[in-house]
Amino acid sequence: MRFTPHTPEDRAAMLAALGLGSVDELFAVIPEPLRARSWDLPPGMSEPEVSQYLAKLAGLNAQNLVCFLGGGFYDHHIPAAVDALISRGEFYTAYTPYQAEMSQGILQSIFEYQSAVCRLTGLDAANASLYDGGTALYEAAMMAVRKTKRKKLIVCTSVSPIYRIMLRSYTINLHLELIEADVSDPAALEKLLDQDTAGLILQNPDFFGVLHDYAPHFEAVHGVKGLGILGCNPIALAVAKTPAQMGADIAVGEGQPLGLPLSFGGPYLGFMAVREALLRTMPGRIVGRTHDGQGRTGYCLTLQTREQHIRREKATSNICSNEALCALAAVIFLGLMGKQGLVELAELNMTQAAYARERLTAIDGVEPVDQGPWFNEFRVRLPIDARVAVSRMIDKGIAAGFPLGRYYPDQSNNLLVAVTEKRSKEEIGYLAEGLEAVL
């Protein structure tokens, strides 16, 4: 299959205009010894052939498991209007809106997205998106380092272990001190805070689904003039105390729950919101509202002197492409849910999880681990290795949850179970009955 429109006559006409006999002459600048010695790629295929091959590969994935997997990535319902709207070619096939006058559609939608993120977090300014929740957390950590000119970052062990590995990977050469400790108890935190503390990183709900009030923690970090960073689940923000109310300076999170498919890990959406004072150290694109010469309202990329295409090695971040289409999906999702709908969605998730928790902890030998309150995810302690239990549950057609032993070696019997609005009472029943049978 080819997508080049040129006929042999078109090519001949273009070559003639160049005074060339063959297209190969255009590549004469590549020295002969450097030319490709092989080009061992398969022949092209037609659209039906590729489509059938990919459908076959898709069929090799276990797509019919009932999903109780979470860990920061959730099987929520995506309203049909999300995909219908983001699939409009005018959005889909555009690039970064450098030419504002012909890009008002994407610019205004990003402005609306920024507004929604501010309203969810209670903070003053949001950027146009980052790659994902993990890179957003890393960018937030680096903002704290830059802003405070300090070297020490304290990360609670109840922050996603996946994101903590990312933080370690990104900071290993930067001569920073990355302290991972359980600082859920403010007293434990106090012992670690000092004049070199750049930031404190917490997560709400934490990786185990438990909701917290971190106001005392952020007050403590402000006491040493460090910054407070909070990782958030955007749907939980509909009901949970906001990052602003808790005193966080930067809120970040994974936007996948807002209308993005799980899609085996991406594309996802990192969101970020900050207090006013941090605006000019924020990474990524930002859209602002302004006006044209005739006083008409319009939108443009703004505060670009932070960015790599202007500041090069002095930029606040290297980011160029972000996740604009995912941000569009998120603002459409939030608009469809609306003010009341998002609250109801959050509460429905909590209700479903509460029911599942009661069903599972009623099983002989299955114990609750936390006191709660929880959002849509919780951990239970099984009488056997959770990996074994999960493996047996797969034979019953259920992805029963995430065995925590992989990231927390002392928790090999603990299972992390997520329950969204998509799970029916019957499915939760299968989970409980199945688990009882395999233990």
């Binding site: 080049t4 205009a17 255009l26 590549i30 030319r35 010695r37 790629l41 022949p43 659209e47 990919l54 459908a55 590969l57 898709a58 276990a62 797509q63 498991l65 920061g72 099987d75 889909y92 096939t93 555009a94 504002a100 012909m102 890009s103 402005f111 146009a128 890179t135 990977s169 290993i172 001569h175 009030d213 923000l237 009901v239 498919p261 085996f264 890990g265 594309p267 602002g288 008409r296 309202t297 443009c300 703004t302 790599q308 090069r312 002095k314 971040s317 290297n318 160029c320 289409l325 995912c326 939030l334 609306g338 998002l342 109801e344 509460e347 429905l348 509460a354 009661e358 074994v388 065995p403």
Partner: protein, 488 residues
């Protein structure tokens, strides 16, 4: 146009949620204690679905994409994005796949199809670039650059090398110096000569402090650096690594491979070269490939094959730099690029580069009558013009030209970049613009050149056909309004 927030009417709604699916008494368990609860609901819009659909449909209609018209935005490779790849990415077996599934026991067997996509795409990218191994984790081009520099650091650390500098030519994308800097290196800029990085200046600046050099070849001026072998040899003698920014790979497929040019690390922009949609500024995907001596440092996990032909995620690479993304990269984007490569095949990809280079040179020659080409010799897939003469003669800048092109129905070229050309206008037509579209662009540029002489004021006023004219960007930056203000 009103924002979605301004359209809000209390009580209106679009959400369709199941009623509580479980016993009523559990609903009480969703009531949080006051200290954990937000005081007021977030002021999200209250709209009906039809209002929302019309709103975003209207917004789409004041946005310009490749599906609307010619988009010769240099360095961004705005080629046609085939539609069938979208269908593939939405297959429930891919779109619904939870990324943690393979981490369950025997889990790799639950995602064999997805792992197969990653594995086969890796084999194809290896063949296209000559590299020995790839990671799909980087989530965009600049993210690939950062990953590449982290790999560079891991290599030098492992060897006990103490190096602190990364060399970057003055024509580089801004992301190159930014990536090197945030990875902890000091950036040194190498000057260009005749449009390409000067090998003599490069060698003078090379010393044992240099960890690596980041190059784009062909570079952002659209020129292939013929001294590349000499540059790579000198770099390797100093144990500096050669980094290839794959932004311009669309120019050389089938003709040259980064590995053969002496590069050790490459990132590819799948959204550029392999036709996945740019989405208004992402998502992209920036896989990174390396030569054999660097593969131990690649991020984990890596997809590997067992003796029985099944695939698994291999985390057992003790020298790995770790995770640069939570999972396996922007899988949905990788999947579309995979579909694109399968569809075109080897000959199709080579034809892509031929047609892309042919189209750029056609513009170079056809526009040469009325516009000053920055470097008057054959280019690769993009060509840079300068409006410097128009500024001097008529007071018409590259910005004016860009805005006038909007009125002509085209997306403008990249302007004021690369920095090495004054009043730069960088055109990349790509292989998917038909000859008549190229001719129409040439004609439009011709009219603009004529108007620059005859009526420069008209060009200062452009664009006039858009919903808004030139925006007050100074005001936007001085008095930032970054969200819809909440009603008091």
């Amino acid at each position: 146009m009103k924002t979605i927030f301004e359209m809000s009417r209390p009580g209106r709604r679009a959400a369709s949620l199941p009623c509580s699916r479980v016993d009523e008494r559990f609903c009480q368990m969703s009531q949080l204690p006051p200290e954990l609860r937000r005081s007021e609901p977030a002021e999200l819009p209250e709209v009906a679905e039809i209002d929302l659909v019309r709103h975003y449909t209207r917004l789409s209609r004041i946005n310009f994409g490749v599906d609307v018209g010619t988009y010769p935005l240099g360095s961004c490779t705005m080629k046609y994005n085939p539609k069938f790849t979208e269908v593939a990415a939405r297959l429930p077996g891919f779109a619904g796949l939870h990324p943690l599934l393979p981490q369950l026991r025997r889990g790799g067997l639950l995602a064999q199809g997805a792992l197969r996509v990653i594995y086969e795409l890796e084999q194809l990218l290896k063949q296209i670039t000559g590299m020995d191994a790839f990671t799909m984790q980087p989530l965009a081009g600049a993210h690939g650059e950062l990953t590449g520099i982290m790999l560079m650091a891991a290599y030098h650390n492992d060897k006990g090398n103490q190096k602190s500098l990364v060399l970057v030519p003055d024509s580089a994308h801004g992301t190159n110096p930014a990536s090197a800097a945030i990875a902890g290196y000091q950036v040194v800029t190498v000057p260009s000569k005749n449009g390409v990085m000067d090998p003599t200046a490069f060698k003078e600046m090379l010393n044992d402090q240099v960890a690596g050099v980041m190059m784009t070849n062909p570079n952002t001026v659209g020129l292939f650096n013929p001294y590349i072998a000499e540059i790579a040899e000198a770099a390797h003698r100093a144990d500096a690594l050669m980094y290839y920014d794959g932004a311009n790979l669309n120019a050389i497929m089938g003709y040259a491979k980064p590995a053969d040019l002496g590069f050790d690390i490459v990132h590819l922009n799948l959204h550029k070269t392999f036709g996945t949609p740019h989405g208004g500024g992402g998502p992209g995907a920036g896989p990174v490939g390396v030569v054999e001596r660097l593969q131990d440092y690649l991020p984990i996990s890596r997809v590997d094959m067992r003796g029985d032909g099944t695939l698994f995620l291999d985390y057992d690479h003790p020298k790995s730099i770790g995770y640069v993304a939570p999972f396996y990269g922007n899988f949905g984007v990788c999947l579309k690029a995979f579909a694109y490569i399968l569809a075109l095949g080897g000959e199709g990809l080579k034809e892509v580069s031929q047609d892309a280079v042919l189209a750029a040179n056609y513009l170079r020659v056809k526009l040469g009558d009325k516009w000053q080409v920055a470097f008057d010799r054959p280019c690769m897939h993009e060509v840079v013009f300068s409006a410097e003469d128009k500024v001097a003669q008529h007071g018409v800048s590259a910005l004016d030209v860009a805005k006038a092109l909007i009125d002509e129905g085209f997306h403008p070229p990249t302007i004021y970049f690369p920095l090495v050309v004054k009043e730069a206008m960088m055109l990349e037509p790509t292989e998917t613009e038909a000859l008549e579209n190229l001719d129409a662009l040439v004609a439009a540029m011709g009219r603009i050149a004529d108007k620059a002489a005859a009526d420069p004021e008209a060009l200062h006023a452009a664009p006039i056909t858009t919903p808004v004219g030139r925006l007050d960007e100074v005001n936007a930056a001085r008095h930032p309004v970054l969200q819809e203000p909440l009603e008091a």
